[in-house]
Symmetry: C2
Subunit: 881 residues, 2 copies
């Protein structure tokens, strides 16, 4: 763009220009504007990066702009880049609007060369060791990150030198050693790149900036963006900052600090300081840091100044800030600030504190906590007061605290769990063959793989605790070893899927105090008070009602304590399990109307009594009952097992008439794709009396409670409707039975879970009092994914490839499935403005998805009892969007 | 509506007012306007019917309007309704815009009562028998159709009387008998209705009109409309017509006539005449009719007048007309005319004749024939002159006449056919394992399943004759039995896939001359000339290109002769069957990259040679190759069978290591819902090298032919894409391989068969050169129907309940699946205006669906070779819409 400004001095930017200057550049500018001591510098915009990536060249005007800003930087610092006697050095830092792993981060000491390394030593009061160390770091960092020289080539040379000198630590190498090492590094550089290390400081700078630009498209960065759905065309900014040194003597140093405790949220001074050191050294862990309070003894003036600055920043950002600083010969410099990450508990505490301090209002506080954080606070935790042995640490891949006997094969997991044991399945890594064992286990532990490995993805999908990538574990077929500890099958392990820690033995599990609060046991704890304040505010704000998915009176009562405002989904097929399976088998195998009628008649009073319990627990609130949904053969034995039983019995010449009859039935009812087969409303239209029995049970239960003076509010929901004709027929039958059985008004509506139902929602609305989106099935059919099959078989691969950022079963796919929800919502409301709209798929409890449902204009979400508070919180947050 | 006109005299209407006056009323009005001799009368509009059905009452102004028109009718006829001495009688006829079974049709003789029956006799020259017969018919017809008196009650009384009188026929009953019968009928009427037969002629008329109105909502009519997707709120019109009598002596009579032969289309006089009779008697078949020509001997004046009128009508309607007439004492009256139904051959011949006669233009001729009719003309037929034995009758599921030796397994079918025999594959039902046998057979016969069973669908897809659901067949492993007839392997059967009949022995087959014409053997036959003219005109008119679905060079060559302009779908998995199954098994069971690579390397030259044949046959035309789509376990044995084999072998203590290994693999790959599992693009992204092998084979085949100087135009199609990311990845891989292997340009596109692909088509278009709608899978997923499961399980019931008029797998569901096609078309073209769009589901050859695809704006349809001419014809017709 002609005349576009590509370079901003720190004094020209502000924190609101993140998109243009990146997070780092925008915050450096903001601190500069606040008058805080920031080294001079400037930021090259993301727009310049976009132009570079589009054309492979810098925009024509960029070089001159950089020259101008560099000249001004030189003036400010009183030093010149490339000067031999008193050289200016700069650091070059990337910084996109979102922080993004995989991109090039920083190159320090740009500007050093053979000619001015002595000048740097002079600047540092004659410290030659410091100067050569700075130079060899530049060659190493520049080689690795700008020119793709393998890092090992440098570190191997360093190790060789230390060995030759007989020293253990870098700091034990002297100036001469480091000068020699620099020469070695330059040879390595030339060998790998085919040209010498560039001596021209401006060329160093130019190449570094281009490398930062290019790193926007580094493989890991691209993958990360794909996963996080960050647009690929934003580009990164580049900040060029005058170097300051914390390693120029005891009156220098470097540190990090938080304005509040990021773990607990408690107010105070939290941070670490390392005297006579640079940031790199803190990371390398060569020497121990000291608590930040100690700085007041070391350098009282800088300490006081730092505290002032931290108060300024917190007041300005109105939030916990995370800062990096350096002290160069007693002068404090701010190198970075950002709103700090924090634990879930701290997020709630800090939000509440800031409200109390009058820094933010309740809306803002609500924006700063999330349902995901609340979820973390609701998981039970290990009671670590006994200081259990940490056996290993991996990636916390699926939260939860699980205790059980270690098993090393899926088959053993299934058999031990089958006999009532809690087991932890331990595998080097899992694959689709391990699925049965993963389902059987309380938790899953692997030595390999990260958050998107097969184990992690499947465990999250199933709600199992999972630690993966605990790479210190040496796992064989029947045991694991860590160092000299061996864990054999049957030995007890405890795994924490939040922290990634693995403990030996059984660690006691502590119930979450937040869950206790929801359950109604009061507490004076600060966290609980914060949660209470924020939940109350969310409830005030939200437009979406929150219901629960529950099939029993107990679940319903619990969910009601958690704040559920009704039941959005009662799955009646769950009432067909246990002892009743026998009756269901009779129903399925019935050969005559009489047999079928008898089986239904026997089920009627049982179903009625289930509904009496449920309606009682939810008295006065709506209860949506879904008529039977799954294919009937789900209530029969497996075809494979039965076929084998019969064949083997036959081979033995044994009697097997009953099994043969059953096998015939199972074979007859076997379906290639039961998900898309005879189920839901199709069953209701094909099997006479089935839906009628359920509707009668609902209506009679309502009549019974109404006679007691209660206020039952049942709603009948027809599953798997794809055409209005199906609903019309069932509705006609329902209305007649309801009119016969009770005076209680009962709404009749439908699931929208088949894509065609969404596409023809205008027609379907004519026959429906409400729609409830079944987003699980809608996702299965819109994507063509059978959840039973694909999650284990290839979702891990899709996550790895970045085709999904997150499974569409976890968080609603807005573009595809979400579009169906929108189409149906719009058409349904256009046909019938008062149509009640809700969602009862698992997405009803997913934070991201709750925002979508709010945005689309649904009336309620329904989710599992445990997720009700999360949905309430997110519904409140969504109302603030 | 205030002031709305509800009644039209015949002189006020016209044939263009069908919606208001119904078909019958509009045509009576048209004939009246043409000055033809139509008895006086008037029509009550469909609008009056709608008002009646909405409120349960006639619109307030209707009674007065009817009175006015009745008065005018009385003036015209010189008789009054209810007059004792010279009564006016009327017929009351229903008539909707669409002809519709299940509605009340006609009540004759309205106006007769106890007081004027003698007057009618006097009118008829003292014929008392005629008068009493007319009266008893009124009581009977009015009782049955207006008052729901069971018809048997009347016919039983009539039978009793005949028995008592010792006569066989109604005509042998005298005037006294009929007077007595009338009295009996009135008693029956009173007993069933609780009131006497109404004596007031105006009440008779009022009640009859109301009954016609109500019959719009008769169960059969509602079901029919639901099935035919005729809106339920149109209503029917009612025509009131002065009675004329053909049974008043030898100078009276009644007849039907066609202006051309409705069977052959030949010009001339076709019809039947019955002297001294009424229309009812013709239907009852009591006496034999005579050919219409005989009328010139009986009543030359009326005959000549009739011929004049027929010429007038044909000239006016510009089409074959079907008429009903009555001669009352030498005076000709026209009672009805309509455009006549005709056979498929006649439709083509008549259309061509009318063009030659200058009566219509070619566009109009094309409108008057249909793809369904053309399809009928393409099937070979049995020559039934030898009156062969009908062994059984089933559902005619895929038309055609097939003769061959009965075989009872797919393997025998393949081997016998391989040695040159014609075979009929007989199975209880078929499944995908029978595919090779189905391909090898001339025809397929099953005992189970309907028009949408696996056998039916696959046979239709392959153009094989198929009779299914012949449930009298008792099929065992190696023979079939019907009653005491047994058919063993090798016995010859003949099956007619149009009529569903199965014959024992070889019935001679007549080849279709229309197919011979398409195959290129010329003929001077009038039918072939007509087809040629209409096909040529359709090709001139159509915008849609027509491609074919073909997997072999032979199929491709045949389709090309039938007019295919390329291949829209080559299913590469069909190339993985037969001998190659072993290689595929190796691929699936491969444990190492090496094993997998070896299996793929062995498949490469085979696939390449398949493509060489295919591209050669379609030289110069586009060939769309779909990369492998079905789940790999389809190439492995069935889980149930294998589990039984292994269990039994184990029980016997036999060796079974190979089977066990195979069973492990089958179990590992088993999916709950394979349709929604690991298949299509998912396989390509999970199994390294699989797609690459296929793409290499395509590119190398193209290079090979290009080197010969030919012009291969391959297009690569990626199946089951749901997200643009999937397509991008495969596209990247394809482009690289294509660039390495050939200079021939190859388009890369995707199936749109997953609903999400349609919903996100704008994104997907960015990475696609073309879309091809896979409407089979799109239908499965949009409705949530697994075709393998639901068609047999409940489609029959859905068709019966009227939820479908036709299976959505046969004809595209416009509202649901069609909406997805529209969404994707619009979004795809918006993103990429030049995007090529086609369809390759079976709907591509369905006439209704072709019109939809034209309307939506696709570029081409693709269908089985046999359907190519049908699609061409319908694409031409669609362009005229």
């Amino acid at each position: 763009m002609a005349g576009e400004k590509y370079v901003y001095d720190f004094s020209e930017g502000s924190k609101d220009l993140k998109d243009l200057l990146g997070g780092k550049g925008a915050n450096l500018a903001e601190m500069t504007r606040l008058g805080l001591p920031v080294p001079a510098g400037f930021t090259i915009t993301t727009s310049a990066c976009r132009a570079f990536l589009a054309t492979g060249e810098n925009p024509p005007s960029l070089a001159a702009e950089i020259d101008d800003h560099l000249a001004s930087l030189e003036r400010d610092m009183g030093r010149e880049l490339g000067d031999h006697g008193d050289p200016l050095l700069v650091s070059v830092r990337s910084g996109a609007a979102f922080s993004m792993p995989g991109m090039m981060e920083t190159v320090l000491n740009v500007g050093l060369n053979d000619a001015n390394v002595a000048g740097l030593a002079a600047q540092a009061g004659g410290d030659e060791r410091f100067a050569w160390d700075s130079y060899r770091r530049l060659v190493q960092m520049f080689g690795k990150t700008v020119c793709d020289v393998p890092g090992d080539a440098f570190s191997d040379a360093l190790d060789e030198l230390k060995q030759a000198r007989g020293v253990r630590n870098d700091v034990d190498l002297g100036a001469d050693d480091l000068a020699a090492l620099t020469a070695t590094f330059k040879r390595i550089f030339a060998k790998h790149t085919g040209h010498d290390f560039p001596q021209d400081p401006r060329e160093q700078l130019r190449l570094t900036i281009a490398a930062v630009f290019r790193s926007w498209n580094a493989e890991r960065a691209v993958l990360y963006r794909r996963q996080e759905r960050i647009p690929g065309d934003l580009g990164t900014a580049v900040s060029v900052v005058a170097m300051v040194f914390g390693n120029l003597g005891p009156d220098s140093g470097t540190g990090v600090a938080f304005t509040r405790d990021p773990a607990s949220g408690a107010q105070g001074i939290y941070g670490d300081y390392l005297q006579n050191a640079q940031g790199e050294d803190v990371v390398a862990g060569i020497r121990n840091t000291v608590p930040l309070e100690r700085l007041q003894e070391i350098d009282r003036r800088s300490y006081d100044r730092l505290l002032d600055i931290m108060a300024t920043l917190e007041g300005h950002y109105r939030d916990l800030c995370d800062i990096e600083f350096t002290i160069e010969r007693g002068k404090l410099w701010m190198l970075q600030t950002r709103v700090g990450k924090r634990t879930a508990a701290a997020a709630f505490r800090i939000a509440a504190q800031l409200v109390q301090e009058g820094m933010i209002d309740r809306d803002e506080a609500l924006r700063r906590v999330s349902g995901a954080q609340l979820g973390q606070l609701m998981f039970p935790r290990f009671d670590l007061s006994s200081a259990p042995d940490v056996l290993a640490t991996g990636v916390g891949a699926s939260p939860g605290a699980a205790v059980g006997k270690a098993v090393f094969t899926a088959a053993r997991a299934a058999s031990l769990a089958g006999s009532g044991e809690d087991v932890i399945l331990v595998r080097r890594e899992t694959n689709p063959e391990d699925l049965a064992g993963m389902i059987a286990a309380r938790g899953i532990l692997t030595a390999r793989g990260g958050k998107t490995s097969h184990a992690a993805v499947v465990a999250r999908g199933m709600g199992r605790a999972c630690v993966c990538g605990a790479d210190s574990l040496d796992i064989s077929g029947s045991s694991l070893r860590v160092g000299d500890v061996e864990i054999a099958e049957g030995d007890v392990l405890s795994i924490d899927g939040t922290t990634g820690r693995v403990y030996r033995g059984a660690v006691p599990v502590q119930p979450s105090e937040v869950v206790q609060y929801f359950e109604g046991s009061a507490s004076e704890d600060e966290l609980v008070q914060a949660v209470d304040m924020l939940m109350t505010h969310a409830d005030d704000r939200r437009r979406l009602a929150v219901r629960t998915n529950a099939d029993t009176g107990d679940d319903a009562a619990r969910a009601r304590r958690f704040g559920a405002e009704g039941i959005g989904l009662c799955r009646t097929e769950h009432m067909f399990l246990g002892d009743r399976k026998e009756l269901v088998e009779k129903l399925i195998l019935a050969h005559t109307d009489q047999e079928r009628g008898d089986a239904l008649a026997a089920l009627l009073p049982l179903q009625r009594s289930d509904f009496v319990d449920l309606f009682r627990a939810m008295d006065g609130l709506p209860v949506t009952v879904r008529l039977i949904d799954p294919p009937l053969h789900e209530f029969l034995p497996s075809l494979e097992e039965l076929a084998v039983t019969v064949a083997v019995a036959r081979e033995r010449g044994e009697e097997h008439a009953d099994d043969e009859r059953l096998l015939d039935a199972v074979r007859r009812m076997h379906e290639q794709n039961p998900m898309l087969g005879l189920r839901g409303v199709r069953l209701g239209l094909v099997i006479p009396g089935l839906f009628a029995m359920q509707v009668r049970a609902i209506a009679e239960a309502a009549a019974h409670l109404a006679a007691e003076g209660l206020h039952p509010r049942p709603e009948i929901m027809v599953p798997l409707v794809g055409a209005v004709q199906e609903l019309e027929m069932v509705r006609g039958e329902c209305e007649q039975i309801v009119a016969e059985a009770t005076g209680v008004p009962i709404l009749i509506g439908t699931m929208i879970e088949v894509p065609r139902a969404a596409l023809t929602a205008g027609q379907i609305a004519e026959a429906a009092d409400f729609f409830s989106f079944g987003t699980n099935d809608l996702t299965q059919m819109a994507w063509g994914f059978s959840r039973d099959d694909v999650e284990g078989a290839f979702f891990w691969r899709y996550l790895e490839l970045g085709i999904f950022g997150i499974s569409p079963f976890e968080s609603l796919d807005r573009d595809g499935v979400g579009r169906l929800v929108r189409i149906a919502t719009d058409a349904g409301r256009a046909e019938k403005p008062g149509l009640k709209l809700g969602v009862c798929g698992e997405h009803g409890g997913d934070p991201e998805s709750v925002h979508f449902f709010h945005e689309v204009g649904l009336d309620y979400v329904s989710c599992s009892p445990f997720r009700v508070p999360i949905a309430r919180l997110e519904a409140g947050r969504a109302a603030l969007d």
